[in-house]
């Protein structure tokens, strides 16, 4: 009896603790959950912003490998442009084989962004005094290799370029000159995209003097990781992107509308939740109260998980959460309806509670599995906001099963342990 009271209180404290974590966040060693304000990423439809989808205008018959390489360059180009314009929160996503979606939060003029991001790239190679050596279009290909370069015996990642014969001599001379200016600190080649300096790889003395055959290409070493070499190769390849980017989809939401959408949804969710809590209490009395506690636990854990997984919350996502509130309640209703029937058959409270949960289990599991099937299909075939909806639906279903089958059941059993057995309290 005493133990039951303690366990019951412990669960309540646990729920309160989770609610506090979801509001304020927690940061212990190796265990960090951000507060809901920092953790939940609000979708563009809630904060305002634009999502722009570009499609590669691929010439007929281009092999997939070439398209893939071109797409990498396109991503590199978009990324550097986004950074140059200060859209640091922007997200790039590949969609299908030849589309890229750019999501930019809080941008006020979408059309400007469409033009700025999608325009044809101007890539230039300049020397340390900013004199033009050649254009990006003079490079035939650029790829990452690993090996020793020039006099340097250490194996390291580097970018090798194949340059058009017309420009090869110019580039060779420029690198040779640069290599000789090591004492002035001018031994590098500067790579500019849209007049913004992107990279300035160092020219090694041995490599510049090598006088490589044009057909064998020229290599540029970059100190550091293969990741840096890969980025450099993608950057250089922008100059020969084999296709133009065409904007095929644009969705822009003004910030005023976004804010209003968020505000009203939270309000609707809160009032709706309150109404459900009252309904459950009135119709199911004491078990209803336990279900209400479980539902509060559900809401708190949901917010915590959304922050922990940094879920991108969209308007349909909110709708998904609100729907799963309904499903969490549904499982309780199935059980309690069952429980009341068992009571009417003359069973004791304890036996009726047990039978209620046991007999309702198959219906709850079967119905939740079919919903999960639908959600997984949405996740696989849907786009952007629809996937957001599917994710919240999946989290919500799993969570609702847990809160109902574990939390509300545990609380109700403790109530029975405490000899709270007046049938009126159970609505019978």
């Amino acid at each position: 009896m005493k133990k039951s009271v303690l366990l019951f209180m412990a669960v309540l404290v646990g729920i309160a603790l989770i609610a506090l974590i979801s509001v304020y966040g927690v940061d212990l060693v190796a265990f960090e959950i951000p507060s809901y304000k920092d953790g939940i990423i609000l979708g563009l439809d809630l904060v305002g912003g634009s999502s722009i989808t570009y499609e590669a205008d691929v010439p007929a018959g281009m092999p997939q490998s070439e398209i893939d390489a071109g797409m990498l360059s396109a991503e590199a180009m978009l990324r550097s442009r986004l950074t140059a314009f200060g859209y640091t929160e922007a997200i790039l996503t590949r969609a299908g084989s030849n589309r890229i979606m750019v999501s930019i939060p809080k941008i006020t003029n979408p059309e400007e962004a469409v033009k700025m991001l999608g325009s044809t790239a101007r890539l230039e190679f300049r020397d340390a005094d900013e004199n033009l050596i050649m254009y990006g279009s003079d490079v035939k290909s650029a790829k990452v290799s690993i090996g020793s370069v020039g006099d340097n015996a250490i194996s390291q990642p580097y970018v090798s370029m194949e340059i058009n014969p017309d420009s090869y001599e110019k580039f060779r001379l420029a690198t040779k000159e640069a290599a000789q200016k090591a004492s002035e600190g001018k031994n590098y080649i500067a790579i500019y995209l849209d007049n913004e300096l992107q990279s300035s790889p160092t020219v090694e003395a041995g490599f510049a003097a090598n006088g490589l055959d044009p057909t064998q290409g020229v290599s540029i070493t970059v100190g550091g990781s293969s990741e840096q070499a890969k980025n450099l190769a993608a950057l250089i390849s922008i100059g020969q992107m084999p296709f133009d980017l065409k904007q095929v989809e644009l969705r822009a939401v003004g910030s005023i509308l976004g804010e209003k959408a968020l505000e009203t949804s939270i309000m609707a969710g809160a009032i709706g939740l309150a109404l459900v809590l009252v309904f459950m209490l009135v119709v199911y009395r004491l078990p209803g109260l336990m279900a209400d506690l479980a539902l509060l636990a559900y809401a708190a854990i949901m917010v915590m998980l959304l922050s922990a997984f940094r879920v991108n919350l969209t308007l349909p996502g909110i709708a998904g959460i609100i729907l799963t509130i309904g499903m969490a309640v549904d499982a309780n209703i199935i059980i309690f309806a069952r429980f009341k029937e068992e009571m009417r058959l003359g069973k004791t409270i304890r036996a009726a509670v047990d039978a209620g949960y046991r007999r309702a289990l198959s219906a709850i599991i079967d119905s939740n599995i079919t919903t999960i099937i639908a959600a997984v299909i949405l996740l696989m075939f849907g786009t952007g906001p629809i996937q957001g909806f599917a994710i919240t639906l999946i989290i919500g279903i799993a969570l609702s099963m847990f809160t109902v089958l574990v939390i509300s059941r545990f609380l109700l059993n403790r109530m029975v342990d405490m000899n709270v057995t007046n049938p009126k309290l159970y609505g019978v």
Partner: protein
């Protein structure tokens, strides 16, 4: 104790259903003939949709003027509607970024303009969205049918799917009657309704499965009636709680989320109705008047 004879009164339920489904059915049938009763959004057709707040009360005259202005720029006649008291919604064919900017500039020359939304979908993306929408609904329905067929029996799965089609058709009626824009969110709405309706049917099937064990000598139709009466409270209470939340969204929400919530609410109510009055009797008629063997 509730005691409704669902199987015997099936003809009345079906009359009501047919009445509710009519608009959706007509809308679907006419679609292949190029007549659309639906307010199809640019998501599936491709096109451009721009909404601005112009901070001045919109009247027919101003809307006409804006319409002519947009036509001058785009060369095609647009759909121009009032959106809220001071807003305007302009729907055109798929136009490029320069043209879209020109439209906004022209508006800015006359009004104080605040961008609400701007959407542009090319025909190819529209076709992809439509294909993935149809695909996901079909695959999800088939998989749910398979699951039910395994857990219960094929005839019950078939009855449940007929119930689903019934619910979706009623939902489509809502789109037709209230001219709610049919956009990409319809996939989420539809699958939600499918899942909810299947839920309700499964709770019923589960009860029928159990009762068949206890009532081996009873006619199947009677088992259906008894089981439905045993689960009707659950069915209605669940629908009420969900509609409480959805109702708040419909009352308080912004237009885009209301467009999502209204068909959903009606679809869920339809799902509740079909799992009570349609699915059980259909399963019963599939089985004929066989008595359960012990």
């Amino acid at each position: 104790m509730i005691n409704i004879k669902y199987v015997k009164n099936f003809k009345f339920s079906i009359i009501l259903s047919v009445f509710l489904m009519a608009a959706g059915v007509v809308g679907l049938v006419l679609l292949p003939f190029g007549v659309s009763l639906f307010n199809l959004s640019i998501d599936f057709l491709g096109g451009t949709l721009m909404q601005y707040d112009l901070h001045t009360t919109m009247d027919t005259e101003k809307l006409g003027e804006i319409s002519r202005m947009v036509e001058d720029i785009t060369g095609e006649s647009p759909t121009v509607q009032r959106s809220g008291d001071t807003g305007v919604m302009i729907k055109t064919v798929d136009i490029d970024t320069d043209t879209r900017e020109a439209v906004q500039r022209a508006l800015e020359a006359k009004y104080t303009v605040t961008l609400l939304t701007s959407e542009n979908v090319s025909a190819s993306v529209g076709a992809d969205l439509r294909d993935s929408a149809i695909m996901s609904v079909i695959i999800a329905s088939v998989l749910m049918l398979v699951y039910i067929a395994i857990r219960f029996e094929f005839k019950s799965g078939l009855a449940a799917v007929l119930g689903l089609i019934h619910d979706v058709l009623i939902m489509l009626s809502v789109y037709v009657i209230f001219q709610i824009p049919v956009d990409i969110n319809i996939i989420a709405t539809m699958l939600c309704i499918l899942a909810y309706s299947i839920n309700a049917s499964i709770v019923l099937f589960d009860r029928i499965r159990e009762n068949r064990r206890y009532m081996p000598k009873t006619e199947f139709a009677e088992i259906v009636d008894t089981s439905t009466n045993q689960t009707i409270t659950r069915n209605i209470n669940t629908t009420i709680t969900t509609l409480l939340v959805l109702g708040m969204i419909i009352i308080l929400g912004v237009q885009s989320i209301r467009d999502f919530a209204i068909p959903l609410a009606v679809g869920l109510a339809a799902g509740s109705f079909s799992s009570l009055f349609i699915v059980g009797p259909i399963w019963s008629s599939f089985r004929g008047k066989t008595k359960e063997k012990a």
